[in-house]
Symmetry: C2
Subunit: 423 residues, 2 copies
Amino acid sequence: MHGSDPQTLPETLIAAMAAQARAASHRLAAMDSAAKSRALLAAAAEVRAQAETILAANALDMAAGQANGLTPALLDRLRLDAGRLEAMAAGIEDVARLDDPAGRVIEETRRPNGLVLQRVRVPIGVIGIIYESRPNVTADAGVLCVMSGNAAILRGGSEAVHSNRAIHAALAKGLASAGAPADAVQLVPTTDRAAVGAMLRAEGAIDMIVPRGGKSLVARVQEEARVPVLAHLDGLNHTYVDRAADPEMARTLAVNAKLRRTGVCGATETLLIDRAFADPRPILAALAEAKCELRGDAEVQALDPRVVPASAQDWDTEYLDAILSVKLVDGVEEAMAHIAAHGSHHTDAIVTEDAATAERFLNGVDSAIVMWNASTQFADGGEFGLGAEIGISTGRLHARGPVALEGLTTYKWVVRGTGQTRP
Amino acid sequence: MHGSDPQTLPETLIAAMAAQARAASHRLAAMDSAAKSRALLAAAAEVRAQAETILAANALDMAAGQANGLTPALLDRLRLDAGRLEAMAAGIEDVARLDDPAGRVIEETRRPNGLVLQRVRVPIGVIGIIYESRPNVTADAGVLCVMSGNAAILRGGSEAVHSNRAIHAALAKGLASAGAPADAVQLVPTTDRAAVGAMLRAEGAIDMIVPRGGKSLVARVQEEARVPVLAHLDGLNHTYVDRAADPEMARTLAVNAKLRRTGVCGATETLLIDRAFADPRPILAALAEAKCELRGDAEVQALDPRVVPASAQDWDTEYLDAILSVKLVDGVEEAMAHIAAHGSHHTDAIVTEDAATAERFLNGVDSAIVMWNASTQFADGGEFGLGAEIGISTGRLHARGPVALEGLTTYKWVVRGTGQTRP
């Protein structure tokens, strides 16, 4: 009987939550930055105050996860402890200190007829966040939405359901205690997967969806969504070592770009080396000695005995592991052509001492982030000085690369006149 | 056999055009502003040089349109003459003189580790324009795309097929003569409606679709598209006359906002009048005397005998005609609630001498354009000083309100380092 009750239909549930979120977004949009900051600080305090409750809820999820045979990696993502909870609370306080973009005047012009036009930043409205096992997203994403004046509808993974509910309860209580609307951050109460579908189809009710999780989640969201999606599917990033690269810098950057953390979206997956570069062997040796598997064609295999053969799929594979495909190219133009054919428009870097070649690469590579003499692992909102990030976008419209508060706003035109009519 | 030839499948055709457009977009992105301006001036000259050919092609469309019984309004949209052709050429020259946003640095920051980050405006890439009977869109939209560094794929209406081909041939010849890629502006060669569907589903190949035309076209595009769409479906705009409005200004603005041109998207469709406003009767009288049909409830009918009864649908109807729905409300809050319930987030205006009430309205109404003491008919890229417009957007993401060159760009992050690795 449960499924036939219209109140429990996912569409009904999401429509009701979105209507409450819309009302909350109007109240949030009317709050000034100081008021939103105070609400976030109260939320952080409440997370600290409810630490025991949250950790107890997390223990339930961990026990269920172990019983259900979650992998150690997934269990680690799911796990909270005192240190992680304190980091969550401190992260909320960091967001409370960020510059609020809402209300900022982007430009102002006075027309010959006396009309004064402003473009003013305003919150987008209602943001849906769909995520998997990390319970900290409940806090991170929720408070970024609130600080930028948006209402959030959160849909976390079923394996973190108790943790998410406990964190959400603390957030909501803290926010409300400081005058923010109780519905500013809502958590979808059901783990029914149909609720995700209802969110993805809630055009006009939810203004933007941000998926946070693995490739299969992001792919499903991008495939099914009628609501605009802010996301990246792949981080198939390249580092290109040019003929004019400093050999020592090239070696250091290649190792860091691939191996600092292999599971992050900013990791380099393919190393392109100019055939005119002095000597690629020390780079390959450093990678191999750091336990990186190297894959290449016969030309690359001839450079180091540890290189194994690459297949055609390697150039299109995001390993997220200590594996690197390596290819020799004839200069920056062939490197750019390879990136255009195989890249995912996320982050690509050139290593060179030649400024003209660098500018050619920076202008010619069509990626959200292009880098000169820097590790692709810097692709991150915190490293970019944004203070936090809701995600990284490889889409071309609205926001690109790391997205924080500004990407959660849009603008409106405000026109002030003195009775002007159009002739 | 025609339909079974894979070369003629709409998907094959659009994929091939999009690949050529992508290549052209890379060449366009490498052209500086002066080079793009020169190409546009050459295109304008070529439109003038081929005036006879274009007018002869238009005569074929007009004859077919008359034979097919097109309405006088549609025939007028279709018709070109020497004056309209000169306006088209002059319009191309206007766009050639606009500030090119591509390459503009939006912001620059230096991180503590010495990395220098810039956000730089770049073209979006490949823009699809789907339009109906006005052949001038071929030139207007095509050159806006080129000036912002984008390749355009144009799909015009079948009734303007000869005109569009002739205008497109002149544009392409002019652009190429000045060094722009020949595929910078392509016209879909078939009037098969399936080609529109193929464009709408060309995710990743076409970056943005702009529909230009009537409500049924825009609705189809918004419903079917997997590619992001920049458009507005309705312009259900309100003018609210507050208790503190200047009576003379209120009367003048109401008449202009409704009647200057009734068929434009910026026309006011509903007039809201504060019950505490001195006397609504002169406003209603001025509208009625200017041949505007007025619709309202008993309270409004009591104010003027020419007011006819409004039905519930009237508050949700974009008349695009000399018809106005009129409602009395209790002040700015009820006006805003009515707009939130019935508006289309396009353009809404308040008439008042009370600055605090005006600011309440400007902040609280969630529309692309909000106005104080000005006619909603100013909702137009030219009137906003943008020099031209590709369209008006009521979407919340990417661009809002009138969209010109800047809305045809996105940005990339350019990071310049000296060998920094991430710790």
